[in-house]
């Protein structure tokens, strides 16, 4: 909201310089966003909170300044209209929705331009002058915050006002020239036959005043905030009127605003015909509030002298003394003791309450999985994977390729189609990151992200923690990726990554991927998908379900003393058929009965080439024999080695 310094000065003496006034207001909760000089005046741009409808006018801001500076606030008055019978018949169908409706009839109206001074004032606020009558309603809005509306009385059929709910099928063309289908939950102002305005939101085009208007029905009312809010939302409208009614207008302001506008119109030669209709339904009634000094001191940490409390509350318009206060009609936000305490605190000054760093005797614990999570982060960063954070939204089609079974959670009002669901897979986001980096000249991007996946299950949303890894690195191969994933798995009580092609998801290269149940999947992006995504063939991916991983717990260290006796190593060079995997070799060597003293066996060298023969490969198996009790004799090692060779031959291997 914008206010002019000259206008504020009509209500309260201001000696502070504009910048100082702005600072003072901001520190009292009336945030001044900007102060600017406009045509010899100063304009303040206020950023107001939704609990303070009373500040949506010059008089409201002046009242706040008076409370802050202790200067006297001028009274807002308008001449009375005398006790004549009301000229406009008003009926209110629902006194809850329309708490008050004041109506006046102005005759001998001559619509023309406003005087230059008034037009200049509107322009100073950044508004356009329309005509003298419309400008009067606007000026009263900016002056005291009460929205009003002027109807062309000759266009109101039956010359009466009915405040009622819209009927099914009714329509209204509003001032913005949009024909609106009315909803039975819309409160409307109607004449005898049809709606002529959306109550508290916008007037109708047909009954709007124009150059030829001679008679005006002036409306000044109080509408229920929620009713106005719903109608405004339903019709996608947000007006100065709805903005104020939604937040709660001052129920006592309606007749005063009508009289102020009438006085203005009289100055243009108009005549007020008869008296004012003032129909009152159900209005919010301010309730007396008990303010206990002890409660104030308990919440704020120190007492505020009672005379200061009383002075500040009175300046805001509260009525009362000592411990019982009646809040003013324009402060719907003051209903409880704590509301008064806040007013006193902010006007007294937040900085006047001494600080204390409170002691605490309870315990402080990190998230149960934070230690595990941070260990995973540390591991991956140490291996050169940079940590990424991405958005949780995803494209439904992209996710379906990577997690076809998951039922996605949809965003009903998404920002774009590419962000229409919450992601069911972390991999599309990872591919986007890799591609972004490649496009920007990063040679071999390696990234990881710890985030969440979202899905629906039995009508309930489910969120799970996920780790994704991605690398576009020609130096990486499947075993390199497997090593990285196993290093993470190895932090937990998890088995290693084993999988067969049959279980692999379709987005991976069928011969270069592995999985560990529901815990982890890792491999090379399928070449067809890589081409589709315009990614290089050497794109490596892994996704780990952190929930399941955390559930396994951190790897427990089990200490075993190193053997005091020397080990013997023996190498076995064999040629195997391609079908024989290392896993088979490992199983054969580990099968019962155990080979005596065999401590370890590892694939020291794997070689495929012409020398091994078509469909075959060479494998160098390195074994280590060791005893915990003594140094092994050569014959013992010989015997065990013979058994190793025998088992390798049994797998179809040929010793070289």
């Amino acid at each position: 909201m914008k206010v002019l310094l000259s206008w504020l000065r009509e209500y309260v003496p201001i000696t502070l310089a504009p910048e100082a006034l702005a600072a003072r207001l901001s520190l009292a909760g009336v945030a001044v966003e900007r102060v600017e000089a406009v045509g010899g005046d100063w304009r303040f741009d206020l950023d107001l909170t939704s609990n303070r409808p009373d500040l949506l006018s010059h008089y409201g801001v002046a009242r706040e300044i008076a409370a802050l500076t202790g200067e006297p606030l001028a009274k807002l008055e308008a001449p009375g209209l005398g006790a004549q019978p009301a000229a406009v018949a008003v009926t209110i169908e629902d006194g809850q929705a329309c708490g008050r409706y004041c109506a006046l009839l102005l005759e001998q109206v001559r619509v023309g331009d406003s005087p230059a001074a008034l037009a200049a004032r509107l322009q100073g606020l950044g508004h356009r002058a329309i005509n003298n009558i419309a400008d009067l309603t606007n000026l009263s809005l900016w002056a005291m915050g009460q929205p009003t509306h002027a109807f062309d009385a000759d266009r109101l059929r039956g010359g009466e006002i009915r405040v009622r709910w819209a009927r099914p099928g009714e329509t209204l063309v509003t001032l913005d020239e949009v024909e609106r289908q009315l909803d039975p939950r819309d409160l409307v102002i109607a004449d005898r036959e049809r709606p002529v305005a959306l109550a508290g939101v916008m007037g109708g085009l047909e009954t709007a005043i124009g150059a030829g208007t001679r008679r005006v029905v002036l409306e000044s009312a109080w509408f229920d905030p929620l009713t106005v809010r719903r109608t405004a939302r339903r019709h996608g409208l947000h007006t100065d009127a709805s903005h104020r009614f939604e937040r709660g207008a001052d129920p006592e302001a309606a007749p005063l605003a009508a009289r102020l506008i009438a006085a203005g119109a009289r100055a243009y030669g108009a005549v007020v015909a008869g008296g004012m209709s003032d129909q009152v339904g159900t209005l919010p009634q301010p309730q007396a509030i008990r303010l206990r000094p002890a409660a104030l001191a308990r919440l704020l940490g120190r007492a505020v002298p009672p005379e200061d409390c009383a002075r500040l509350l009175r300046a805001l318009g509260c009525d009362g003394e000592d411990e019982v206060w009646l809040p003013p009609s324009w402060r719907p936000d003051l209903a409880r003791e704590v509301d008064l305490i806040e007013e006193i605190a902010r006007l007294y000054g937040y900085d006047r309450f001494p600080s204390r760093l409170p002691a605490f005797q309870g315990e402080a614990a990190p998230l149960p999985e934070a230690g595990m999570r941070d260990r995973v982060r540390q591991q991956l960063r140490g291996r050169g994977f940079a940590e990424a954070v991405t958005v949780s939204f995803a494209d439904a089609g992209e996710c379906a390729r990577f997690a076809p079974a998951a039922a996605p959670v949809r965003v009903l009002n998404p920002l774009s189609e590419e962000a229409a669901i919450l992601r069911t897979s972390s991999l599309p986001a990872m591919l986007h990151l890799l591609r972004h980096n490649l496009h920007h000249g990063v040679a071999a991007p390696k990234l990881f992200e710890i985030g969440k996946l979202y899905r629906r299950e039995g009508g309930q949303p489910v969120e799970t923690a996920v780790l994704s890894l991605g690398a576009c690195d020609p130096g990486m191969d499947f075993l390199g990726l497997k090593g990285e994933v196993e290093a993470v798995l190895g932090l937990f009580e998890a088995p290693s990554l084993i999988g067969t092609a049959a279980e692999l998801p379709g987005f991976l290269h069928p011969g270069r991927g592995g999985r560990l149940g529901e815990l982890a999947v890792a491999g090379q992006l399928h070449p067809a998908l890589a081409a589709e995504w315009k990614l290089p063939p050497e794109t490596w991916l892994a996704e780990l379900d952190l929930q399941r991983l955390y559930a396994l717990g951190r790897r427990r260290v089990r200490y075993a003393p190193p053997s005091r006796y020397p080990a013997s190593e023996r190498d076995f060079s064999f040629v195997f058929a391609d079908e024989v995997s290392w896993a088979q070799v490992e199983r054969a060597l580990g099968a019962a009965p155990a080979i005596a003293h065999l401590a370890a066996a590892s694939p020291a060298e794997v070689f495929r080439g012409a020398a091994s023969g078509e469909g075959h490969y060479s494998l160098l198996v390195r074994t280590r024999f060791q005893s915990e009790e003594r140094t092994l004799r050569d014959e013992e090692v010989q015997a065990a080695a013979a058994e190793v060779a025998a088992r390798l031959r049994a797998l179809g291997g040929q010793q070289r």
Partner: protein, 359 residues
């Protein structure tokens, strides 16, 4: 006028009487000639076990000497031997030193070339700030809590005293979810975890809640549809406004340094009262005014306030018996301020040219 090595070698190989030396004095003078020549020849030449000059002199000069000469001559030869040894040692040491020096010269590298290392990749800047803030509050006795990102409207709004139809509800640009997930939204703040925590736990309590939150804001330099918040809540029998101030002042100093100044500006949140925004003196211009602080000298850091009694009502806490304070801040914003990042989108780009800078 030292004699040549060859001459001396020939001398030493010859018993002295055959060299025409007659007297003890002449013999001593001849030994003196050897002494004068000590600088020449190797260690082996002088001290070799079989053919070294001193061995030869013992053999050919000392042995044939009359017994009454032997004492003085022996002493003279011993002296000569000690000097030869000392000289040889010096020569050896010098040769060794030269060899070392040569090797060191050869091994010199250009130390101005860039170092080579397999550096650990950096943590994400937002998460660095998150971890730092969490650590500050862990030290103050706060336990870390979290909650779902897909939240019910009850926890996200109603229990926080934001009823249906309240303007504050619309100001948050909520993202709604479906299908068949009516009454669910993407949480617009971490505050629902306040309620979830108080439902589970009786006071006193202190929790800090980091997490992702969502708003329907199109991405630009200062907006993102998802960003990170951290929420704090403390409830006890005697917490007041001064405790809120003291805690947040400590936090601001721990985060930005001891010289930072703070101020509380009144504000409005449905779930706190009194409410405030905490400003910190601009860390770039120390409060003198610059572009970052829009020439105000202050940077808005967080929203806070005393827990509204209505909120206590939702979790069956008695506001007459307990009081507390809550605060919430945007982690992304703090990261932007701390690192001078001009575009919020960079945090979510995964761009290594950006991320690698936050080691």
């Amino acid at each position: 006028m030292a004699r040549s090595a060859k001459e001396l070698a020939a001398w030493a190989a010859t018993p002295w009487p055959r060299l025409g030396l007659r007297s003890e004095a002449e013999l001593a003078a001849a030994v003196g000639e050897f002494r004068a020549a000590l600088g020449a020849g190797s260690r082996e030449f002088w001290l070799g076990r079989k053919t070294g000059l001193l061995t030869l002199l013992n053999e050919n000069w000392l042995k044939p000497a009359p017994p009454e000469w032997k004492r003085a001559l022996g002493q003279q030869l011993n002296q000569l031997k000690r000097e030869a040894e000392a000289r040889a040692e010096r020569q050896q040491a010098a040769a060794q030193a030269e060899a070392v020096a040569q090797r060191l010269r050869a091994e010199r590298v250009d130390i101005t070339l860039p170092g080579r290392s397999a550096q650990a990749a950096p943590a994400h800047p937002i998460l660095q700030v998150r971890d730092e803030i969490v650590d500050i509050f862990l030290r103050l006795g706060y336990t870390v809590a979290d909650g779902p990102e897909i939240e019910t409207t009850y926890y996200n709004f109603e229990a926080l005293n934001i009823p249906e139809g309240h303007p504050a509800r619309e100001e948050q640009d909520t993202l709604y979810l479906g299908p068949d997930l009516e009454r669910h939204v993407l949480r617009t703040h971490t505050s629902p975890v306040q309620i979830r925590t108080m439902e589970k736990q009786a006071p006193p309590l202190r929790v800090i809640v980091p997490g992702k939150v969502y708003r329907r804001d199109a991405p630009d330099a200062t907006h993102s549809p998802n960003f990170h918040q951290i929420e704090g809540l403390a409830v006890d029998t005697d917490l007041h406004w001064g405790d809120l101030k003291g805690t947040l002042e400590h936090f601001a100093r721990a985060l930005f340094g001891t010289t930072v100044r703070t101020r509380l500006r009144p504000s409005y949140f449905q779930f706190t009262e009194p409410s405030a925004e905490l400003d910190v003196s601009c860390i770039f211009c120390q409060g003198r005014g610059c572009r970052t602080c829009k020439h105000s000298g202050w940077i808005e850091l967080l929203g806070c306030g005393m827990v509204d009694p209505a909120v206590f009502g939702f979790v069956n806490y008695d506001p007459e018996r307990v009081s507390g304070f809550a605060f919430g801040l945007g982690i992304d914003r703090v990261a932007m301020i701390r690192y001078g990042v001009d575009d919020l989108q960079r945090f979510y780009s995964g761009d290594l040219r950006f991320l690698e800078q936050f080691r």
